[in-house]
Each structure stands twice: as structure tokens, then as C-alpha cells.
């Protein structure tokens, strides 16, 4: 009898211990998730329906913020358009570029390590203010880009690429493409995982280089392309630093990124309620786009059956 109770106690104790130990280990996450994600998230929805300037207490205004967004805020639509143009051009171009270069580097050429390093360095420092400031001067009226064009082609464009309404956004898109390094490394890892035997078999069957790329490389890389696409799209919608530092949203709001609009509403005009509503809307857009990408993925992403 005593033996059985002791054993039962032992079992209860040990299983209780595991629960306790488990929660003890993940306790930081639980606290952090509740404090820095869950509560702010709930607050986000609440502030969406208020007018709040941080000084007086929040005032319930119902759907006013959303009505204002769609009827009385030109800059909302402008910023949405700018961000969409940016995401739909910069992200695909960056990924295509990254993929092509990864294929190039995978060809067992000499100095691969050196090239990989050179191509990757812009990605490491690309998000910094230092590089943003530098980019602005590089593409300015008297910047190095115009000087290089003059030295190579013999004429000097009399334009500041970042101050002209037609080219400003493209200078920033170019900056995004310039930072193709991290998707390139992900692609490179994916390419290394494709067994050589696949290509050898294809060669035996008489497939040329293009056919091998379309029938073997591309399908096997689609899971990685999907991963890159989702992460880059989400990141693209959050673009902020470049727009603030290089162009400050101008000229003529042509580089007014959505997050820059949110920042100005929240921190320059202290209209926290409206900024929250804008953030909320962005969340919906990003969620819909991510869902769309995942939904279409079953049609184009190829998963190798395991085993």
C-alpha cells in the first residue's frame, strides 16, 4: 500500500515537474508575448476607433478614422499606391536578380567566395541610415551617378534622380535591388541541395541547359521562392527608413511610403488613433496578400515527396 502511494506520488510529482519545468523555460516568451504583442494588438483595435493625442484621454469616435481614410485623406491613397508600386517592382526584381546570380555563382567558377562576399555586403549594411544618406548623395544632382554617366557616355544628365518626381521612387527601387544579397544566399543554399544526379540523368536524356533549368532547377527551388516571396513582401510593405532619410516622402509625395504616412500621422501630428487605424488597414492588406500567395502556391510550388 505504502509502496503504491509512494509510486503514485512519484509519478504525480514527476509529471507535475515537467509541466512546471516547461512553463518555467518558456515563461519569458509568455510574458513577452502578452506584454509586447497581445496587449498592444488588442489596444491597436481599440485605438482604431478613437481620437487620441497622448495628452488628453482617448475619445471614442466610432468609424470616423476609417471614413476619413477613404474620403478625406488623399495621402492615404497616394501612400498606398507608392508602396504597391515599390513592392510590386522592387521585390520581384530583387528576387529574379538574386536567383540569376545564385545560379551564376553555383556554376563552380573561381573566386566564388570573393564574389559572394562582394554581393552580400550591401545587404548587411543596406538598412542603415549611413547607407540611406550615402544613396541620396550618390543620386543627387552633383552625385557620383551623374559623374559616372558623364565619364562613360560623355554627357551629363542635368537631373537629380532623387529630387525629380519621375525618378525618385526608381532610385529607391534600385537601392532595394542593390541589396539582393540575402535572398541570393538562400537561393544558393537551395541550389546546393539539388542532387547532381538529377542533372546527370537529364543530360543523358538529352536536355539542354535551358530545359534543365526549367524542368529541374526552377521546380525544386519553388518552396524557397515562396519563402522569399512571403518574407520580402511583408518586409516591403514596412519600408520606412529610405523614404524618410533619402527623400522625406517627396518630391510631390512620390516616395510617401505607407509607413512614413503612419509615422507622420502618429508622431508629427500626434494623431495616434488615426495612425492606429492606418496600421490596422495595412495589417489587413498584408494578411490578404500573404494568404493569396499561399493560396496560389499549391499551383506552382513543388514539394518533393519524402521517403
Amino acid at each position: 500500500m505504502g509502496m503504491v502511494t509512494m509510486m503514485a506520488q512519484q509519478i504525480r510529482k514527476s509529471s507535475g515537474n515537467e509541466n512546471g519545468a516547461g512553463y518555467l523555460f518558456i515563461l519569458p516568451w509568455i510574458i513577452g508575448f502578452i506584454a509586447f504583442t497581445a496587449i498592444p494588438f488588442i489596444c491597436l483595435f481599440y485605438f482604431t476607433f478613437t481620437k487620441y493625442d497622448l495628452l488628453s484621454s482617448p475619445k471614442w469616435t466610432g468609424l470616423d478614422n476609417f471614413i476619413r481614410m477613404f474620403t478625406a485623406d488623399d495621402k492615404f491613397l497616394t501612400s498606398l499606391k507608392v508602396t504597391f508600386i515599390y513592392v510590386l517592382t522592387a521585390i520581384p526584381l530583387r528576387l529574379i536578380f538574386a536567383l540569376l546570380i545564385a545560379i551564376l555563382l553555383n556554376m563552380k567558377i573561381r573566386f566564388v567566395g570573393l564574389y559572394r562576399t562582394a554581393f552580400y555586403i550591401p545587404s548587411i549594411i543596406g538598412g542603415s541610415v549611413a547607407v540611406a544618406v550615402m544613396w541620396g548623395q550618390l543620386f543627387g544632382l552633383n552625385g557620383a551617378v551623374n559623374a559616372v554617366i558623364e565619364a562613360v557616355f560623355g554627357f551629363r544628365p542635368n537631373v537629380s534622380w532623387i529630387a525629380h518626381p519621375d525618378t525618385a521612387l526608381w532610385s529607391l527601387i534600385l537601392m532595394a535591388i542593390w541589396q539582393f544579397g540575402s535572398p541570393m544566399i538562400i537561393f544558393l543554399a537551395g541550389l546546393k541541395n539539388i542532387p547532381d544526379s538529377y542533372y546527370e540523368a537529364a543530360v543523358v536524356d538529352g536536355a539542354n541547359a535551358f530545359q534543365r533549368f526549367v524542368k529541374i532547377t526552377l521546380p525544386l527551388l519553388t518552396p524557397i521562392i515562396l519563402f522569399n516571396l512571403v518574407m520580402q513582401i511583408i518586409g516591403g510593405f514596412m519600408t520606412f527608413t529610405q523614404g524618410l532619410i533619402i527623400t522625406d516622402g517627396g518630391p510631390l509625395d512620390r516616395t510617401l511610403f505607407y509607413q512614413l504616412h503612419v509615422y507622420r500621422q502618429g508622431f508629427e501630428f500626434l494623431d495616434m488613433g488615426y495612425a492606429a487605424a492606418l496600421s490596422c488597414f495595412l495589417l489587413v492588406i498584408v494578411a490578404i496578400l500573404t494568404a493569396l500567395v499561399f493560396k496560389t502556391s499549391s499551383a506552382w510550388v513543388h514539394y518533393e515527396s519524402k521517403g
Binding site: E18, A21, G22, F25, I26, P28, W29, I30, I31, G32, F33, A35, F36, T37, I39, P40, F41, C43, L44, Y52, L54, I101, L105, I109, R110, F111, Y115, R116, A118, I121, P122, I124, I125, V129, A130, V131, V133, M134, G136, Q137, L138, G140, N142, G143, A144, A147, E150, I185, I186, A189, I224, F227, F237, M238, F240, T241, Y263, M272, S279, C280
Partner: protein, 282 residues
């Protein structure tokens, strides 16, 4: 013979392409470094040149003076304090949490792991406004707490990364240690922790980069010039309205890129492996 020479032509073309792309990748950075050694009046004269006509080292001392009587020494110190604290917090918290999820069985584990995956997909910027309001209410604005405290409570990305790594360690090691009378925490600290060093280094490096580049957080939370990080200071230094000394600006910008580039060359292997394995192999 013909086949052979054609083959090397392809290789040559690839080498040329790589050289051109490499030049385009590095030219902007080289230009900035070169400009930091040019006389202020010469930066935008024959701007494309990468070799200063006369080397001017005074840009560095001029730039270092900063503004409002605060030197870049202060800005760098502020940045290092924030970056080191967040890296430390991230490593400690994420390794504990990752171990809990990877090895311990407990109730509602699936639910809590779901919150990790959800957070992984939720862009942090979305909740920045309510986070700011909450930190404002707590009186944390104009302190570094909003920038460093969250790091001590885990980050979804690194928890996931370290978890993936722990899963590759044979479970028998845990069991052997348990039989030898090791406690859960003992198993974690004596068996697992030494084995997951590569994942910890990778996490530390990436947290370092994110924290070093964190401009938005520093911009909204640090309102006093003596608290500024290098990012915020550089932005104010380049204020178009006050006639920027561009060479001095580039000198400080160059200095601010040294730590990330140094870390890159010291830990290149971990970085490449880290990027290659995160979220891809599961």
C-alpha cells in the same frame, strides 16, 4: 580542343559578369569611404573618383565633434549599450524558450508554440503605435527600456532558429544525463547549451545587425540628443536646412559601418549558414 576553348569562353563571360556586378555592389560604399577623405569642397567635384586629390583626415575629427556639444563618442557609446544589452537578452531568453519548446512536454504547448509562429509572420511595425502608447503611459519614453527590455522576453525568429538546431541533437544525450541525475535545467545548461553554440552565435549576429540598424525605435523613443544612437545622430547631421559638411558626414557614416562589416568578416561562416538554414529546413 574546340569544345575546351568554348568552355573557357563561357567561364570568362561569367567572370566578367561577376566582376561588373561586384563593382556595382561595392562602388557606392567605396565612393562613400573615398568621399570621407576628400576635402569638403571637393566631394561633388569630379564626384565619381574613388581617389581623393588630396587626403583630408580632418573630416574625421570634424565629424566626431557631432552637434549640440555632444560628440559621436556619446552616440557610439549609446548604440553599443543598446546593442550589447539586446544581444545578451535575446541569447539568454531565446535559448531557454527554445529548449522548453524543443524538449519539454507540457500542457498547451501547441497553443504557445502557435503564438511563436503567429508572431513570426506578424510584422512588428503593425503594433508600433499601440506599443508606443503603452510605453508612453509607463513613462518609458526617453529611456532605453523600450529598446532593450523586450529582447529579454524572446524573439520568435530566434526561438524558431534555435529550436530547429536543438532538434538535430540526439535525444539520447538528454536521457543519459537524466539517468545520471541531471535536472532539467542541468541538462539544458550542461548538455544542450554547449552544443547549440553555432545557433547562438548566428542569433547574436543577426540581433546585432537588427539592433545596430534599428532606426525607427531609436527615432521615436529617444528624444534627447545626449541619448541619440548613431543612426539618429547621422540623420540629424545630414539635415539639409543647416548646410551639411558632407565629408564629415561621410566620415561618421563610414565609422558607423565598421562594426557591422567587422562582424561580417569575423563570423561570415555563421551568417551564411544561418541564412541558409532559417525556416528552410524544418
Amino acid at each position: 580542343m574546340i569544345r575546351n576553348s568554348k568552355f573557357s569562353w563561357t567561364k570568362l563571360m561569367i567572370q566578367l559578369m561577376c566582376l561588373v556586378i561586384g563593382a556595382a555592389s561595392l562602388y557606392p560604399i567605396a565612393w562613400m569611404i573615398a568621399s570621407s577623405f576628400k576635402e569638403s569642397s571637393q566631394v561633388f567635384v569630379s564626384a565619381h573618383s574613388l581617389i581623393p586629390a588630396a587626403w583630408d583626415f580632418s573630416n574625421y575629427s570634424n565629424g566626431w565633434k557631432g552637434f549640440a556639444g555632444i560628440t559621436f563618442g556619446t552616440f557610439f557609446k549609446n548604440t553599443f549599450i543598446i546593442v550589447c544589452t539586446t544581444v545578451l537578452g535575446t541569447i539568454v531568453s531565446c535559448s531557454l524558450v527554445a529548449y522548453g519548446f524543443a524538449r519539454v512536454k507540457f500542457k498547451l504547448k501547441g497553443f504557445w508554440f502557435g503564438t511563436v509562429m503567429l508572431t513570426l509572420l506578424l510584422p512588428g511595425q503593425i503594433v508600433q503605435i499601440p506599443q508606443y502608447i503603452i510605453f508612453h503611459q509607463m513613462g518609458w519614453v526617453n529611456t532605453i527600456y523600450p529598446l532593450v527590455v523586450p529582447a529579454f522576453f524572446g524573439s520568435a525568429f530566434f526561438i524558431f532558429l534555435i529550436m530547429q538546431f536543438i532538434r538535430t541533437i540526439p535525444y539520447e544525450l538528454d536521457e543519459a544525463a537524466k539517468i545520471d541525475g541531471c535536472s532539467r535545467f542541468g541538462i539544458f545548461s550542461r548538455i544542450i547549451l554547449p552544443l547549440i553554440k553555432p545557433a547562438l552565435v548566428t542569433s547574436a549576429i543577426f540581433e546585432f545587425y537588427w539592433s545596430w540598424d534599428n532606426f525607427f525605435g531609436a527615432l521615436i523613443y529617444l528624444g534627447k540628443p545626449q541619448m541619440y544612437t548613431v543612426s539618429v545622430a547621422l540623420r540629424l547631421f545630414a539635415d539639409p536646412s543647416s548646410g551639411t559638411d558632407w565629408s564629415a558626414m561621410f566620415a561618421m557614416a563610414t565609422l558607423s559601418l565598421i562594426p557591422p562589416i567587422l562582424v561580417f568578416f569575423m563570423f561570415q561562416r555563421y551568417i551564411v549558414e544561418g541564412i541558409s538554414t532559417t525556416g528552410l529546413k524544418g
